[in-house]
């Protein structure tokens, strides 16, 4: 029998074993149930407890914003930032040069990155970059900008004054 055919048979046998054996495991995969990404589950916006980058809730982040003990980084587009952002937040979208902001970010005890959507993809990308550059306490804001607004977090509008040296 040809190797590819044998490989297919092996896959079929393995798949059958896995699907049948699944029910005998301590916490089986829920066959027949739709499993959506963690970030898309109700009430779990950006709140993946298994995410590699630390999270911080809007509730916990608001006092840090008011007391200026954390620097907020807006990972959305320049247009979205100008329309409204966390008070004092810097604008840093994925792919934009970090260097002009790095000294200020390094001086902050905590950096909180936020995004526009439930997936937090942009915030994660920026946070990953900052962590790779040696920043120690970088967190992603759960709930992102929509939850910040909904929970009455302080905000302002306009372009980023500290980012003016950079092209958007």
């Amino acid at each position: 029998m040809a190797t590819p055919v044998q490989a297919v048979l092996l896959c079929v046998a393995g798949a059958a074993l896995g699907i049948v054996g699944n029910r005998f495991t301590p916490r089986p995969a829920p066959l027949g149930v739709r499993v959506v990404p963690t970030a898309d589950q109700p009430g779990a916006i950006c709140e993946d407890p298994r995410a590699s980058i630390a999270r911080i809730s809007v509730e916990a982040a608001k006092p840090l914003c008011v007391a200026c003990t954390a620097v907020f980084v807006d990972a959305r587009s320049a247009q979205e930032y100008a329309a409204g952002h966390v008070t004092g937040a810097l604008h840093l979208a994925p792919g934009q040069p970090v260097e002009p902001l790095l000294a200020g970010l390094r001086a902050a005890p905590t950096v909180i990155v936020y995004d526009r959507d439930r997936q937090c993809a942009s915030a994660n990308a920026v946070a990953t970059d900052l962590l790779a550059r040696g920043l120690r306490d970088v967190r992603v804001l759960t709930g992102a900008w929509p939850d910040w607004l909904a929970q009455g977090g302080p905000g302002e509008s306009g372009a980023c004054a500290l980012c003016t040296e950079r092209k958007p």
Binding site: G18, R50, Q119
Partner: protein
């Protein structure tokens, strides 16, 4: 002389696949969630694929370890690892922050994970190409 190298690669690959499957068994539900977080498969298909992947890893790993149907098992491992690499790379490029789900636990998906899978993929390719024949010896003796 180089036959031991091929055997060592086969055994290492088999052990890794079997280990990968065994570490997922205690919490298949979490592994299904890991698969969903890659945002590639339809939600309804995710748990079925998760269960199937673990079974295939187990069968392929066992076959490589005991030396039964080595070539088909290595071809299967090659295919699986290729899919894993594609899943990982697309997630990293899209900025999705997730656990890789490779060996259970909480290991985050990273470029290191991709490099490790590529190394395993290279081993699987060697085993699938040269096992069951004297081609490795012939190639190395040239």
């Amino acid at each position: 002389m180089n036959r031991p190298l091929l055997v060592a690669l086969r055994l290492a690959l088999g052990a890794l696949f079997l280990w990968a499957a065994l570490t997922k068994l205690p919490d298949m539900n979490a592994f299904a969630q890991d698969v969903a977080n890659y945002r590639v498969l339809p939600a309804g298909l995710v748990p079925w694929v998760a269960a199937a992947v673990v079974g295939i890893e187990m069968v392929a790993g066992l076959a490589l370890l005991i030396g039964l149907a080595v070539k088909p098992a290595a071809v299967t491992a090659t295919g699986l690892l290729s899919v894993f690499v594609v899943f990982l790379v697309q997630a990293l490029l899209r900025g999705i922050d997730l656990r890789c789900g490779c060996f259970g636990g909480d290991e985050p998906a990273s470029w290191w994970t991709v490099a490790r899978d590529l190394a395993m993929l290279a081993a699987a390719l060697v085993v699938s190409t040269f096992s069951g024949s004297s081609r490795l010896r012939a190639a190395l003796q040239e």
